[in-house]
């Protein structure tokens, strides 16, 4: 057991005995224990249906939007039990980026970045808003591309730009953790590369947890990797070690392409 799951000291996120079931008794995630290291990129990989997205979506409690999903176990963010906090607060501290870029089509680029504040009814002074928008767009290296068209609709941007806009939107609240659910699966290779480089840069200030279907992406950009299979966290360790020297047979078979 000790060899399979790395122990993270002072984790920013700490998942304890987490199980998630759909429709009573059908488990999508079983008894996951894992800590996530601060200012790192941690990748969760595994074949389709292994529970990686389900696990990710429990971390900012998105599962609560749907009935019949039951979560057992605990998740701590900086030692605070997230299930004891309000879902609104937790989602501001743990941002999320989705598979397909989903800027709000009725909002301008500017409004998309501060959408979190608008949605929550938080009123800010104009110069404070400008500052947040500029900072967030600079963080995602989109500022130079859009600074002259901030009033245009976000949907005019290319797919890769839209996804970076969505990352900026998640950054605007200065979250502790950013969850990304296969963020490049709808992007072309060049846009994918830009997003990957961006995420590596963002770990200086944020902790990044990334679900990916793409092993080489995990190998390229993550510091730590989890391998999930059939709802179970099979192996978790430093990415280099996991890829070069996997302990579990299933991890090895997955990484060598015996199944996907």
């Amino acid at each position: 057991m000790k060899d399979l799951i790395i122990k993270i000291e002072n984790p920013v996120l700490d998942i304890k005995n987490l199980s998630i079931s759909y429709n009573k008794g059908k488990y999508a995630v079983t008894n996951v224990n894992a800590g996530v290291k601060k200012n790192s990129v941690t990748a969760i990989m595994g074949p389709s249906g292994c529970g990686k997205s389900t696990l990710l979506r429990a971390i900012n409690r998105m599962h609560e939007l749907y009935p019949n999903i039951e979560v057992k176990g605990k998740i701590f963010l900086n030692n605070n039990d997230i299930f004891l906090m309000s879902s609104i607060e937790i989602r501001r501290k743990i941002g999320m980026v989705f598979q397909r870029p989903n800027p709000f089509p009725t909002m301008s680029i500017y409004d998309n970045v501060i959408a979190g504040y608008k949605l929550n009814g938080i009123r800010l002074k104009k110069n404070k808003k400008d500052e947040i928008v500029e900072k967030s767009l600079k963080d995602v290296v989109l500022w130079n591309e859009v600074k002259n068209s901030l009033k245009k609709k976000g949907t005019f941007l290319s797919g890769g730009q839209q996804q970076r806009l969505c990352i900026a939107r998640a950054l605007a609240f200065k979250p502790d953790v950013i969850l990304l659910d296969e963020p490049t699966s709808a992007l072309d290779p060049i846009a994918t590369k830009k997003v990957e480089q961006l995420l590596i840069k963002l770990k200086e200030n944020y902790t990044i947890l990334l679900v990916t279907h793409n092993m080489s992406q995990a190998a390229r950009m993550s510091d730590y990797s989890m391998f999930m299979y059939l709802g179970e966290l099979v192996e978790y360790g430093k990415t280099k070690k996991l890829f070069i020297n996997p302990v579990d047979k299933r991890t090895e078979e997955y990484l060598t392409g015996k199944f996907s």
Partner: protein, 282 residues
């Protein structure tokens, strides 16, 4: 060979439909021609309705007015109810048993024949209007407007519900992931996204109210004047035709057909507009 036959059958069937609609328009136009020839454009702006032989004088303005006023009353009553109900079924309680039950009931209401609404209006709504002291007999613009509202609510509700359900889950999740509450998501994502479609559903409902005949004829009081208040009696374009076509001939019949033509054009335009807007929404 058999493919050719299929093609021919389909072609003929579609062609018949075209012939029927074209024929209807043509016969409406030729039937209405004498009235338009006699009264010209005045037909649309005059409120005269005098069938006395020798002094025959017909105008449609009071019926156009009656139609528009009853339909506006209907849409004003319909709007808040249909809007809230569609949000309830399509978003707030989406997928729950309660939403399904209410959705089924809305569909059921939409399927009730006009005459049944008319009868219900006559025996239940009309006495209520009398009791409330709005007018002595209970017939009138307001009674017709209320029954029209009840008739178009399910129609507007079911279209709006479908539109609201079409708002992409990805956008809603994006908003939730930023800490939005369900109310925030409805206000900032669902309504802005569905706005044009919801608006279209009211246009289509309005179009339906304009052409609705049976229940209105039973409740509006059938007087050929421009109503001065919503408690007055009146007539709509549809109700005057239903009321008077039986004993009409000559110029009067032609005038009724002319009203029919105007009604046809107005509803056609409104439905066309609605269809274009729905297309744009998709």
């Amino acid at each position: 060979m058999s493919e050719k036959i299929t093609k021919i059958i389909l072609f003929i069937a579609s062609f018949i439909i075209v012939i029927i609609s074209a024929g209807m328009v043509l016969s409406l136009m030729s039937g209405a021609a004498p009235a338009f020839k006699e009264f010209g454009f005045k037909f649309i702006i005059s409120t005269e309705w005098n069938p006395t032989e020798g002094k025959e004088q017909y105008g449609a303005l009071q019926f156009i007015a009656g139609t528009i006023i009853t339909s506006i009353i209907a849409i004003i009553i319909c709007l808040p109810l249909a809007f809230s109900t569609s949000l309830f079924i399509g978003e707030y309680f989406r997928g729950t048993k309660l939403a399904k039950i209410i959705g089924t009931m809305v569909d059921m209401l939409a399927g009730i024949p006009s005459i049944v609404y008319g009868l219900w209006g006559f025996y239940v709504l009309r006495p209520l209007i009398v009791d409330l002291g709005f007018n002595a007999q209970g017939f009138g613009i307001i009674t017709a407007g209320i029954i029209l509202a009840i008739m178009i609510i399910p129609y507007a509700t079911s279209i709006s519900t479908e539109i609201i359900k079409m708002v992409s889950n990805e956008l809603k999740e994006a908003a939730y992931s930023l800490g939005a509450t369900q109310k925030d998501v409805i206000m900032a994502v669902v309504i802005p996204e569905a706005r044009s479609g919801i608006f279209t559903s009211y246009i289509l409902a309005f179009g339906r109210a304009i052409g609705e005949t049976m229940a209105v004829t039973m409740l509006i009081g059938n007087t050929n004047i421009i109503p001065k208040s919503i408690f007055d009696t009146g007539n709509t374009m549809a109700s005057v035709i239903a009321n008077q076509f039986g004993e009409a001939d000559g110029l009067k019949l032609s005038s009724l057909i002319a009203i029919g033509l105007i009604l046809f054009v107005i509803t056609g335009l409104i439905n066309g507009l609605g269809k274009i807007m729905i297309k744009q929404f998709n």
